[in-house]
């Protein structure tokens, strides 16, 4: 409120006061007026203009006094001996005029109230004033209660101390709103502009990529079909660049496109064409371009660099790639491990053994394809190293590789690992025993027939179905009466039926459990048994 004058502060206060107390004030005044005519008289004497109210003095006299003040009296033609004054707007004026009437006439003179040009009695005046006050059309001033100040405040138009050219800016809330709207508008304009910029840049890149692709087709075809591998080896980088548009030699996008095209061809071609493509990649020093991508802060660019190194078999990149094998970004880490497995020549699979993050199924599939490729090349990959990893998912991955690649020579190791393995590992090892019908591990399988774990039990029963003995049958027959779970019962009955159908009929057709008899009947039905 600094900067406001006392008068402005007072007006502000009075305005608020009027707002808060106007209605009760009006009602109380109206009640007073009804009860006290003297107060009405004093109200009229304040000299306030009351809309529609005028006064006339009427005097009954046969003579017209020769006084100057009486000049304003007129003789009533209709009633001889009656005089009436001019219409007076103020009660004070009427009272003053009444005082000037000579004493002999004064007793016969009275003030008549004219409401809207019609003579009215005091009761009508009271009611009229009451209505005015009640409807806040008139505020009587009462000395001492601030009523006059309130009237002043009401009558004085507000003028701000600081004249701001735009009235809208005088409101703080409006300023905040305007500021927000302008900020929103500017942000929208900026974002739309940025979006167009990004889209146009992307579009331009796409157009340039297509153009560069078309520029690559013929030079690459020429190099691949017109020259032998030995001839290409003798070519200098300058000589090879001469096949391509010279102006693009330093263009990063052109190099990117070239690498992608070379990789695409490398995937789709075989024979010495692969060697030619890799030679071209190295001769043009595109390997440096791939290395530079590894320094990027964007994960997709780093991953692209790793893919290029992997596809082009850049063996010397192994130490650099190894740094990314524990990267927190899934894509970088996955690609780095795959690349390292491919180019490092490390058959102990240490990069996998020391993986701290759990391996996803997608990662396992990628690594498996590389390990299978290396195995098919005749390399002895030490898969058993994976069994000693601290990472359970790596150990399970190792057991899966044994199964998928048919590494039966590792089954003995699995048998040793089995007793101390976790539940998930046991299930995976049991699958290996099942696939390879590894009867040496039957004792371990028998132990897990007594497990409370449903999945492990079902896995063990399935193995017994394949490699089970008479002892296994006895154990299962004994166990079946205690089983409650449907899947466990079903697996057990199926296994027993596969191992010894005669025994099943003999032992179980008279089972006390209705569920077992029903399931058995279902399994023995030639039509329903496969449903």
């Amino acid at each position: 409120m600094t900067g406001f004058t006392k008068r402005q502060k007072l007006f502000a206060f009075l305005f608020l006061h009027q707002l808060l107390f106007s209605l009760p004030f009006g009602i109380s005044q109206a009640q007073v007026l009804h009860q006290d005519w003297v107060q009405v008289d004093s109200l009229l004497l304040t000299g306030q203009d009351i809309p529609g109210l005028e006064f006339v003095i009427v005097a009954d006299s046969l003579f017209l006094p020769a006084d100057s003040t009486i000049v304003r009296f007129h003789k009533d033609i209709a009633q001889p001996g009656r005089w009436y004054s001019d219409t007076l707007g103020s009660y004070v004026e009427a009272k003053a005029l009444e005082q000037h009437i000579p004493n002999e006439m004064r007793d016969r003179a009275s003030i008549v109230y004219i409401l809207f040009k019609k003579e009215s009695n005091p009761e009508a005046l009271l009611e009229y004033l009451d209505n005015l006050i009640r409807n806040e059309l008139f505020a009587p001033s009462v000395a001492g209660d601030g009523g006059e100040l309130m009237l002043l405040a009401n009558r004085t138009a507000f003028k701000p101390f600081y004249q701001i050219r735009l009235r809208i800016l005088s409101d703080l809330k409006m300023i905040v709103l305007l500021f927000s709207l302008i900020l929103f508008f500017l942000a929208s304009v900026f974002l739309v502009g940025f979006m167009f910029f990004v889209r146009s840049k992307k579009r331009r890149t796409e157009v340039m990529t297509q153009r560069f692709k078309s520029l690559c087709y013929e030079p690459l075809s020429n190099l691949l079909f017109e020259y032998e591998l030995d001839e290409l080896k003798d070519f200098s980088a300058q000589k090879i660049w001469e096949f391509f548009p010279n102006a693009q030699a330093d263009n990063h996008l052109f190099k990117d496109v070239m690498i992608q095209e070379i990789i695409s061809l490398n995937k789709n071609m075989k024979g010495d064409f692969k060697s030619k493509l890799k030679l071209i990649y190295r001769k043009l020093n595109l390997v440096a371009h791939s290395f530079k991508k590894l320094e990027s802060s964007q994960w997709d660019i780093v991953t692209t660099g790793l893919v290029e190194i992997n596809e082009m078999d850049v063996l010397e990149a192994a130490p650099i790639v190894q740094k990314f094998t524990h990267h927190e970004n899934f894509h970088i880490r996955s690609q780095a491990v795959a690349t390292y497995l491919n180019i490092s020549n490390d058959m102990t699979l240490q990069v996998l053994v020391h993986q701290t993050f759990p391996l996803s199924r997608w990662q396992q599939m990628t690594y498996f394809r590389i390990i299978r490729f290396l195995t098919n090349q005749g390399t002895k990959v030490q898969v058993e190293r994976l069994f000693d990893s601290y990472n359970e998912s790596v150990r399970i991955f190792g057991y899966r590789i044994v199964r998928y690649l048919g590494l039966v020579d590792r089954l003995e190791i699995l048998k040793e690992k089995y007793p101390n393995a976790s539940r998930d590992e046991k299930i995976e090892i049991l699958k290996c025993f099942d696939v390879f019908s590894f009867t040496d591990a039957i004792e371990h399988v028998h132990q897990d027939i007594y497990t409370e774990d449903k999945d492990l039990y079902v896995a063990a029963v399935k193995v017994l179905q394949n490699i089970g003995t008479v002892i296994s049958q006895t154990i299962l027959i004994e166990r079946i009466e205690h089983l409650v779970d449907f899947d466990c019962l079903k697996a057990t009955l199926e296994a027993l039926k596969a191992m010894n159908p005669v025994l099943v009929e003999k032992e179980l057709e008279s089972s006390l459990k209705e569920e077992i008899r029903q399931m058995l009947a279902h399994l023995q039905d030639p039509i329903l048994c496969d449903v």
Partner: protein, 120 residues
């Protein structure tokens, strides 16, 4: 000059095939999708068709069927990856394609196969 129709959506591969076959003295027409391929079969008198199995708009099998209707004796070579569309490739064989070249392939080997089929 013998005319060979190549239906392949990978421009780089079709360009290489075109380059290699032109060296052999053939005229090569390239199309990138199935609809253009069918149009080319109708309008051009190709002596041999090389087609991929996975191409835009039309399946390679539809192309082979259409080609067989237009010219039952035209040699057709399927150029595709076995791993990707094994069932489709088997179906292509059942439709009586002349040869199958799996990707990755050797363009020189493809040229030899083309020459053998054209000469026969």
């Amino acid at each position: 000059m013998k005319n060979i129709l190549v239906i392949e959506d990978d421009k780089l591969i079709s360009s290489l095939v075109q380059f290699r076959l032109k060296k052999e003295g053939y005229s090569v027409t390239m199309v990138e999708d199935g609809i253009s391929g069918m149009d080319a079969i109708d309008t051009q008198e190709a002596d041999l068709i090389i087609t991929d199995v996975m191409i835009p708009y039309k399946n390679g099998i539809e192309i082979i069927n259409h080609a067989r209707k237009v010219n039952p004796k035209i040699p057709i070579i399927v150029l595709s990856s076995l791993g990707e569309e094994e069932s489709t490739v088997m179906e292509a064989f059942n439709l009586g394609v002349s040869d199958f070249v799996p990707k990755p392939f050797n363009p020189n080997e493809l040229a030899v196969r083309v020459r053998r089929l054209i000469n026969n």
